[in-house]
Amino acid sequence: MNTKTPSRLEKILASGHLAVTSECGPPRGSDGEVITKKAEMIKDYVDAINITDNQTSVTRLCSLAACIRLKLMGLEPILQMVTRDRNRIALQSDILGAASFDIFNILCLSGDHQQFGDCPQGQNVFDIDSIQLIQTVRHMRDEGKFLGGDDIARPPRMFVGAAANPFADPFEIRVRRLAKKVAAGVEFIQTQCIYNLEKFELYMKQAQERGLHEKVSILAGVTPFKSAGMAKYMKNRVPGMDVPDEVVARMSGVPKEKQPEEGINICVESIQRLKEVEGVRGFHIMAIEWEEMVPEIVKRAGLYPRPKVE
């Protein structure tokens, strides 16, 4: 098997299986048990678990600490890292911190602007952007050197990922952006959650035309709606999100008590349809504050049990 790191996620993808990842949001406090409980719920149903990094600029327990906790539980963490809050010194430092605990996966992001979070008056850093962070991790891993040029003692061995949003504007540039990330050295992609399957299929077609689907493993993002209200909120209030009217209508069309069930149905159906799309190598299930549904989604989508790899 041709893998560059000990990452379990990389191995599963390299052996041709569909990978499944999910995410845990850390608490707004110092109780690490919150992470433990969430991870316990989903651990047998996923290959790796993302820990978000102060998502939407809301201050939370840091991703690195939560990833270490997962690692000590024997699980496979994916360290999400935004460039909004840390300069290149801190970023490289945290990468080494993660590597010191043998965390083998990283997701490189720019990060939502701090205006959205609890510290809108704060500074932002953006010393480097997400694409430059991809380059940095690859450089640290493959060249074994810091950005400054010195050698790294025990370089990090990390499987490098990034996000892709086929639904942000301008659409015509999204595949070019993917190409840029591939050129920068990204190895896996987790997309923004998909509701507009047609648009996603069009995006994947364009990616295939450029051969990108063979250079990077694309995991399709899905998020189950808990209610019609959530569907409407995501449609209207979340930048870069595309929720077609038919989907909202489907959620609104059932009585309130039945909406969560319908949300899961839509999610599972999406996964089934996405399995047929060439280039989709797995799924990233983001069940925000609804982690307990991940097992059901994985089972009903025919993705359980998870494969065992060396």
């Binding site: 504007d169 301008p170 050129a183």
Partner: protein, 222 residues
Amino acid sequence: MIVAERKPIEEIIGFVQNCKKILIVGCNECVTVCYAGGKKEVGILASALTMAFMKEGKELEIKEVTLERQCDPEYLEELRGFIDEYEAVISLACGAGVQFLAEKYLETPVFPGVNTLFMGVTEERGVWSERCQGCGQCILGQTAGICPISRCAKRLLNGPCGGSTKGKCEINPELDCAWQLIIERLKKLERLDDYETLIPIKDWSTERAGGPRKLVREDLQQ
């Protein structure tokens, strides 16, 4: 030019509330163009302060002067003959001018009358917007004449981010997404392939991060 905006009157009154004789100094360059600190604005501020003081039964003698610029020593020299007669100076110049005036006249309290905002352009009369952050290493040639450092809220060199919506920035629906603008310009110039060139990590040492900056031209020094 440098764009600035008059401080709230209340704040300015606070600076000089115990004074009886002050000097208001305007500037004929940038702050005149953005109607914040030119001769007219000096006059308006003087009238406003006079009335505010009269209302409290206090007197305030004000001299109004507008210099060509406050960032060049020869113009600031014009104040030397009479500045000592005044208890305080309100300078309506940008932050650079206020500081330079204070440096030349160490014995007179100097207060800023405007909030200096950014280096920008006049989009239309009454609307100014930011264009340059003085990073010291201009990349406008690569980005079709649009600066991602000053016009992208995240100063991404390889944008846009996933929050760009309908050509606008995620933080403000009235703010153009800089990368959308760059992409459109590249299209017009038939250089859209250039978009895929990876822009490398920036050297920020010539920017504020590297410390206060200075430029010396030995060929011009006396």
